[in-house]
């Protein structure tokens, strides 16, 4: 993978965001990200095919048939094949995997993968309706007004009950603080402009079930975001064609996918069981252990999901994720830095783009071009891991990367 580009993750928190003013739509975001990548790879003629990752423009933007925007991005893409994939919030990584499979099948050498979502077209309360499609439609009626936050509030509640509320809430607040601190270093992050002094105290705000949820506050949640992220997946052949040196690319070492039954509640609310399976598959596929990881981009749609991810990967035992986070291991200076550009809580969560954004962050970190966000990559731990989750731990993709040699 090489030549990644993220637009700004736009929404509340960004200085330039004004919900009352007209803003760019899906077309503009796709064009910005797509054109930037095409420029990096020497032109549209180098693209064999494309994969568009989009969750639900059909509702946010009254738009389907997303593949047909390719020629709008660049006329040189006219008549090239494209496919749009969807797997709720795991859409981005599913688009990547679709591209990876194409390259592995040798049906393409250069696949343009573009994730896109523009969600600020409606107020948060209606946004919740649209995003609820990531769950089982038959559960919507009995679900919370904020359906998905409600699902993870239930998980957090169960986690508090089993492992103690105070420490868990502290770890969630710490997760939020880490996310914003990382976002401040990344110019495209939605929380880049955040100047709050005591982030931890803010994160400790007591949840209010009357206005929102009983076990999560708004700082525990990822943001409503507009944005697009694009990257290309290339074979060795393809890399030569676009004329970029290997050292500027990352190699996909392994990946794992897993689906769980959308009609069933989680077997254990305090665990991300499907995440665990997908990560295990990816690590086995890559033939590495967690000790060899330099950094992780996990799917912290909610702070509690971030904490559970540390357990699903195996960094912490079940119930010990809060300790792991509070001890500082997931900070950018910690043992295993998580979400170095802010993750979903700090960078933003334009749903269809998120999985692609995660890959781009790993690509930037492993090739040393992450700018102010750059962390140190040790030679003995050269791998990066992304985890992209759709729904309530239902559609999972984990990918392992390493700088190409």
């Amino acid at each position: 993978m090489v030549a990644g580009y993220n637009t700004i993750s736009m929404g509340t928190g960004r200085k330039e965001f004004n919900p009352k003013k007209e803003r760019p739509g899906i077309e503009e975001y796709m064009r910005e990200a797509g054109q930037a990548v095409i420029k990096m790879i020497g032109g549209a003629q180098n693209v064999d095919e494309a994969v568009i990752g989009n969750f639900i423009a059909s509702r946010f933007n009254r738009q389907a048939n997303m593949g047909a925007f390719l020629p709008y991005i660049d006329e040189g893409l006219r008549y090239k094949p494209a496919v749009r994939v969807e797997g709720a919030c795991a859409t981005g990584a599913l688009a990547l995997v679709t591209g990876i499979r194409s390259v592995l099948a040798e049906t393409a050498d250069v696949v343009l993968v573009l994730g896109i979502e523009v969600q600020n077209t409606v107020k948060a309360i209606y946004c919740a309706d649209f995003l609820a499609a990531a769950g089982w439609a038959k559960e919507r009626k009995d679900g919370h007004a904020y359906f998905f936050p409600g699902k993870f509030s239930d998980r957090a509640k169960e986690y508090y009950a089993q492992f103690g509320k105070e420490k868990t809430r502290q770890a969630m607040a710490q997760w939020f603080a880490n996310a914003v601190e990382n976002a401040r270093l990344c110019p495209t992050a939605q929380e880049h402009h955040n100047t709050t002094k005591d982030l931890f105290a803010l994160g400790m705000t007591e949840p209010n079930p009357k206005g929102f949820l009983d076990s999560l506050n708004v700082f525990d949640c990822s943001k409503v975001s507009d944005g697009a992220s694009a990257i290309v997946i290339v074979s060795e052949e393809g890399l030569k064609r676009i004329g970029i040196p290997k050292s500027q690319a990352v190699e996909v070492i392994g990946f794992g996918q897993a689906q769980e039954d959308i009609t069933k509640p989680p077997s254990d609310h305090t665990k991300l069981s499907t995440t665990e399976v997908a990560v295990k598959k990816a690590m086995e596929n890559a033939g590495i252990t967690k000790e060899q990881l330099a950094t992780v981009e996990c799917h912290d749609c909610f702070t509690i999901a971030g904490i559970m991810a540390t357990e699903a990967i195996g960094f912490a035992e079940h119930g010990k994720g809060p300790d792991f986070v509070l001890e500082g291991h997931t900070k950018r200076t910690g043992k295993i830095p998580f979400n170095t550009t802010g993750g979903l809580v700090g960078w933003g969560h334009p749903t269809g783009a998120t999985g692609v954004h995660q890959a781009i962050t790993i690509w930037e970190q492993l090739t040393g071009i992450a700018g102010d966000s750059q962390i140190k990559i040790n030679a003995d731990r050269p791998y990066g891991l992304t985890i992209n989750m759709g729904g309530d731990d239902k559609s999972l993709v984990a990918i392992v990367y390493k700088r190409a040699e």
Binding site: K123, I125, Y126, D129, R140, K141, A145, G211
Partner: protein, 445 residues
């Protein structure tokens, strides 16, 4: 008749006005919430929105619909539970739309007062005209098929007078909302001599359900709110008049407006507040109150002159500010009316000079926004107002006098038995006028 029964048929007089529309909105929502309770299945609820102009009622219905939408979005969590039995309503948007429909279905706009004859409760929010109020109350009372209760939104007329003159036998209560009723938390409740206790009991429960802060006031013209505001405004007007010896009219207004806003840390200067309420409304309220004040002349020649010229302030239908003493562009003050030249003078042209004359601002001054509604600010206000008191600049001098006068007015309201307690006066100023501190304090002692 219990709480719910009393709210089954309600009329709002002056429903399309600024106050009436807010009262209609809040009451319609409260009634809809009652109608959606399983216990009330089968009961029918009606609220008549009565006004003289069909056109205004048309605008009213549009306003109400927009506001109910916003209210529904805010309380979606509760609404999902309310509509849980409705299998057809799944998404938030469907529930919100249904709720808006359910509220709107209760409202019947009308230009005919006769529809009020079926109501058990009448909210009155017409203009501040005692004779007109008495006439309408009498008419409804004589023709009603019920023994209706009359809740008047008057901010100045003694309730006793309305009771006696309209022969209501104690079925009247002052329920004074603040502008705009949908947002302002304060409701002043005023009993007349013979007001039946069940009216105040109902009003207390009703206000509580509307999440309002209730302050009781004695039945004395102007009550607490206007009792303070009108005198405070008159003090401001007099202070500006004094400055006219050395400054132009526009400059004098600018100076006092700035002192009352910035030095006194209030949400707006006194002339802006007069504009906000309406110069004509202020003039009228003073004229209603004045006959009840034998030892005081609550009257301003300046307001009379402004009205004569036709400069009135007040608000447009969309809530934006009309020009009055001050001229507004996008909510900001850009010019000030000059009574001598009969034109608005740009603030830019004299601001620097005036600010220089006022002298340095107190070093520890904070903007109103930074202090309003915050707990534990007494220490700050004490040190700040001590600083103001110790300064010898023109601005600080006028501000100190103003501060003390405001306190004096407030204390007199308690001494004259208009307010029951000092705390009540402070609550009115804080919740009804959004002041950051109550006028009765020890900040300058």
């Amino acid at each position: 008749m219990n709480y719910t029964d009393r709210l089954e048929n309600v009329s709002v007089l002056g429903a399309a006005g600024k106050m009436g529309s807010g009262i209609l909105l809040l009451t319609a929502i409260e009634m809809a919430d009652l109608s959606l309770k399983p216990d009330n299945k089968g009961k029918s609820f009606v609220i008549n929105a009565i006004d003289v102009s069909s056109e205004a009622l048309f605008g009213l219905m549009k306003y109400i619909r927009t506001q109910v939408f916003k209210a529904a979005e805010k309380k979606i969590i509760a609404l999902r539970a309310v509509y849980h039995h409705r299998a057809d309503l799944i998404e938030n948007s469907e529930i919100i739309n249904q709720y808006v429909d359910d509220v709107m279905l209760l409202i019947r706009p009308s230009i005919h007062i006769e529809v009020a004859y079926h109501s058990g409760l009448i909210f009155e929010a017409i203009k501040e005209d005692p004779a007109l109020k008495v006439k309408l109350f009498s008419q409804i009372n004589e023709n009603s098929i019920k023994q209706p209760w009359f809740f008047t939104n008057t901010s100045s007329i003694p309730i006793n007078e309305l009771d006696k003159n309209a022969k209501l036998n104690g079925r009247v209560l002052g329920v004074h909302f603040y502008n705009p009723p949908a947002i302002q938390k304060l409701v002043e409740i005023i009993k007349a001599e013979n007001t039946l206790p069940e009216l105040s009991e109902f009003a207390l429960l009703f206000s509580k359900n509307l999440r309002k802060t209730v302050v009781p006031s004695h039945d004395f013209a102007g009550f607490i709110g206007n009792g303070h505001f009108m005198r405070d405004a008159l003090h401001g007007i007099n202070e500006a008049e004094k400055l006219r010896a050395s400054y132009s009219f526009a400059e004098s207004v600018y100076l006092i407006n700035k002192i009352t806003q910035d030095y006194l840390i209030r949400p707006m200067g006194i002339f802006q507040l007069i504009d906000y309420v309406g110069i004509d409304v202020c003039q009228y309220i003073m004229s209603v109150m004045n006959p009840y004040l034998p030892n005081e002349d609550l009257h301003s020649n300046l307001l009379d002159k402004m009205i004569e010229i036709g400069v009135k302030g007040g608000q447009n239908a969309d809530g934006s500010q009309k020009d009055g003493f001050l001229k507004y562009e996008k909510g900001k003050v850009v010019a000030i009316y000059d009574l001598d030249q009969k034109v608005y003078i740009q603030v830019d042209s004299f601001q620097q000079n005036c600010d220089r004359k006022l002298g340095e601002m107190p070093a520890t001054v904070k903007p109103w926004k930074a202090v309003v509604g915050k707990q534990g600010m007494d220490e700050y206000f004490t040190s700040y107002f001590h600083e103001v008191k110790a300064m010898s600049t023109m601005g600080a001098g006028i501000a100190s006098n103003y501060f003390l006068r405001s306190k004096e007015i407030a204390e007199k309201l308690v001494a004259d038995k208009v307010a029951f307690t000092e705390e009540d006066v402070n609550t009115v100023l804080k919740t009804g006028f959004f002041h950051a501190y109550g006028p009765i304090n020890n900040f300058m002692n």
